[in-house]
Amino acid sequence: MKLGTIGAVTGWLLVFLSVALLLPIGFSLYYHDGNAWVFIVSSLSGASLGGLLAWSCLPGREIGHREGFAIVGLAWLAAAALGALPYYLSGAIPSYLDAYFEAMSGFTTTGSTILERVEILGPGLLFWRALTHWLGGMGIIVLSIAILPVLGIGGMQLFQAEMPGPTKDRLAPRIQDTARILWGVYVLYTLGEVILLMLSGMDFFDAICHSFATLATGGFSTRTASVGGFGSPLIDYIIVIFMILAGMNFSLHHRLFKGDFKAVIKNEELKFYLGMGTGATLLIMVVNYLSHTYGSLGESLRFSSFQVWSILTTTGFGTADFDKWSPVCRFALVTLMFIGGMAGSTGGGIKQVRILLFWKFTRMQIRKLIHPRAVEAIKLDGRRVPAEVMQSILGYLSLYLVVFVVATLIVTGQGVDILTGSTAVIATLNNIGPGLAGVGATQNFAGIPALSKVVLILCMVAGRLELYTLAVLVVPEYWKGTDLPRWRWQGRRG
């Protein structure tokens, strides 16, 4: 493993983010929020630091299997460090740790906030918050692969490490083209939502911020009351539809555009995902109606469907305070938090396909008891799921459980109550946003102790990069045989 490669790629990535940091300036100037200088300073410091790193480290010939994990893991930590600068410099968030929390919550599309009232940030910073979602949603690395030619060789390693899901579809022979296709679909849907939201009465600024947050399944809104602040059923339903789309596998969208409806209709994971969302919506709608939480069935449908899809796709927008719903509804929502969107979507969580395959695996074990000599295959879309994939899913689930338990132990160990502490971990580990009780839909993460915030930040990255990528970095064996970077002034060897 070569640290030089890691340094060079991370440097390039920071330069790239510095360019993105210039985008909010337009809104800052237009709305006169006085934060334009913040973005210029952040961008310059990011560009100079990144440029220096990229210039001084001589990269190896290609990105190897092992470098991939380190690059993706470190790139995400570095991106949030740079992304936190505007919040900190503007003085809106006085503590750098809080700013880092907010930035990481943005990049990992979590949507948990430490702000009491988000309006104090001003349009420039609010746009930056939404932009971090949007960049992180499809993946900063995947975007870089699509744009930067340096990452061409070995890009598959990075792609593997960043894209969610147990198996990755390769849509084109070249990895750059696959990344471009995914980003193309992503941009197209974002534009579509912006237009629809503007037609239903939002202004351009709100529309673009909410579209970024929806497609990335992030959850940062421009208002403290989230989407509920707009009070429009039309906006609610438009966002529900785009949340559902964002929680779908993006290679399925690509197939849809190519007219391959058969493959989409037959997709087992899609059926499972839509079935689960619809079932949960119906259950919660009926319970909410019977418990007189909402007066009419229509109103109950509107609020139930919004919260269910918001939680299931791990977006985390809110139009209702589900902390006031009956216990069965709250428990159903917490269960959905673990499950998350489809593999290859921008959503977090364990992912639909893992749950589906785990269920099939369990069913097979039971059937094996009835027919001891039977040979069975676990199939997905009519094709056998290789044993390695099955094993990696089982390993993933147990690792997930361990991370959840350890993180909750630390957070509750600092005196946070069980419900707040455990749902805070669930909400960050699954990249959702709000939890229950102290971190519920109308609350925020400001009151969590500092160490717990660090743990939650790590949960966010671990959840976004699907555990293995980050877990491998903390294993000492991984770092054995590491080559120190060769600096440019040392010259190339041989």
Partner: protein
């Protein structure tokens, strides 16, 4: 007619036998001199050693004089190439055996039309279809479609204790009431009898009747045999045939258990099948079969590649309570034994495939042909055209060759029992029973 056959396997040998009996000039090409010597000794044919996909060998077989080329080696590609070459030599009709299903699909880039081959056959697939057809009617041991499936030739085994034993066919006819059916043949201890009204049904007879599809249930009631769709089916042998049959039965919501002894194959089968329980043990392992519930099975289908395994597995399953069995047999030597052993239905892949080829070869006047297993009879279906020399004549004025008989006439969907005075009209379908030796004469008569 000069016929060149490539491949002296089971199907090839059977075709040689059939076609040479019918007095055709048959040339057989095979790479294995041992196979050739044996066939040459038994049959009146010319054998040539060599690879059939080589121009030299084909020229040696005087391919340009041939009217029909049949490629039935074990290798798909050799069969296809040989047929394409035969076309270049101007052979009128070409038949190839192909196992790979990709070549058989209608949307395949290399199906028979594109390759200029007249008939592609897959013996395994044909056999699987045959098994599925029989398994739907659990009591019959043989079913042949006529008139696009509206009329069936069905074979029933009359077991000891059946109330119809001892009844004459004339009495049975009086009993039958409104239903149209005709007993067209009885196979009794290996001999095929074309029965008259005074013939008495005896225990262990195999009755062949022609019946309309819709009347089948009523006729089965009359004969005291009852058919219903099987609910629990065991298939021994997960080869191509076993797989196809399992796929077909799965669709009809039957509980299918597929037993295969090779683990690797089991894994593939489990991947290809959806609701079938794929079991990995030897089909002769009684303990495992019983624990999976063989005693409650309605049907056992033994389709491994070994005849002995198939026969033994069938007997074992029947002993433990399986209701009926369908057994795949490739060696003709065993066929006379099967009835005595208690095997209900025996099917031979080579017969099934050869039937299809024969049907194709005689296409023109004859619509379909079926060889009845365990008897020397063949059944042919023939449509009377206006141009036929005997159209409009009484049946008795037509001199059918010895050993051939019109068993039934299908006229406008009804089954008519022919008498000597029946006048044949254009559009009638004749179901003719004939012994094999008489086939060429029947053909000649029908083409006049």
């Amino acid at each position: 007619m000069r016929i060149v056959i490539m491949g002296a396997g089971e199907v090839g040998r059977h075709l040689c036998q059939q076609l040479s009996l019918e007095d055709h000039e048959v040339v057989l090409i095979d790479r294995n001199p041992e196979h050739l010597r044996r066939v040459e000794r038994e049959l009146n044919i010319l054998a040539i050693e060599g690879n059939g996909a080589s121009a030299k060998v084909l020229e040696q077989a005087e391919i340009s004089k041939a009217d029909l080329f049949i490629a039935v080696t074990d290798i798909d590609e050799v069969n296809l190439i040989a047929c394409i070459m035969a076309k270049q030599y101007g052979v009128l009709r070409r038949v190839a055996r192909v196992r790979n299903k990709e070549y058989l699909a209608a949307d395949s880039p290399v199906n028979e039309h594109r390759l200029g081959i007249d008939l592609l056959i897959n013996p395994d697939q044909v056999m699987a279809q045959e098994i599925l057809k029989i398994s739907r009617v659990s009591e019959a041991f043989e079913i042949v479609d006529f008139a696009h499936g509206e009329v069936l030739l069905v074979g029933y085994h009359i077991k000891e204790g059946n109330p119809t034993c001892g009844i004459t066919l004339a009495d049975l006819r009086a009993l039958k009431g409104l239903y149209d059916f005709v007993v067209v043949a009885i196979v009794r201890s290996g001999n095929t009898i074309i029965p008259r009204g005074s013939e008495r049904i005896q225990a262990d007879d195999r009755l062949y009747l022609v019946v309309q599809r819709e009347d089948m249930a009523a006729v089965e009631g009359l004969l005291n045999v009852r058919s219903h769709l099987p609910k629990r089916v065991f298939i021994i042998g997960g080869g191509q045939v076993g797989l196809e049959v399992a796929k077909g039965l799965e669709k009809e919501r039957v509980d299918v258990f597929l037993v295969e002894s090779d683990v690797r194959r089991c894994e593939l089968l489990a991947e290809w099948l959806d609701n079938t329980v794929v079991l990995n043990f030897d089909g002769l392992d009684a303990q495992d079969l019983i624990s999976e519930g063989i005693d409650k099975a309605d049907l056992l289908i033994a389709v491994t590649n070994g005849d002995t395994t198939n026969i033994l597995a069938s007997l074992l399953a029947k002993h433990h309570g399986a209701h009926k069995c369908i057994t795949r047999i490739s060696r003709p030597d065993f066929i006379p034994l099967l009835g005595k052993l208690g095997i209900d239905v025996a099917l031979s892949a080579r017969l099934v495939a050869a039937n299809m080829i024969l049907r194709f070869v005689r296409r023109g006047v004859i619509l379909s042909v079926a060889t009845l297993l365990g008897s020397d009879a063949e059944v042919v279906e023939f449509v009377v055209s206006e141009r036929w020399a005997y159209a409009g004549n009484r049946l008795k004025s037509i001199h059918f060759p010895l050993g051939a008989n019109v068993g039934a006439i299908i006229r406008g969907g009804d089954v008519v029992i022919p008498s000597g005075d029946t006048v044949l009209a254009a559009g009638d379908r004749l179901i003719i029973f004939t012994i094999k030796k008489a086939v060429p004469m029947v053909e000649e008569l029908l083409s006049s």
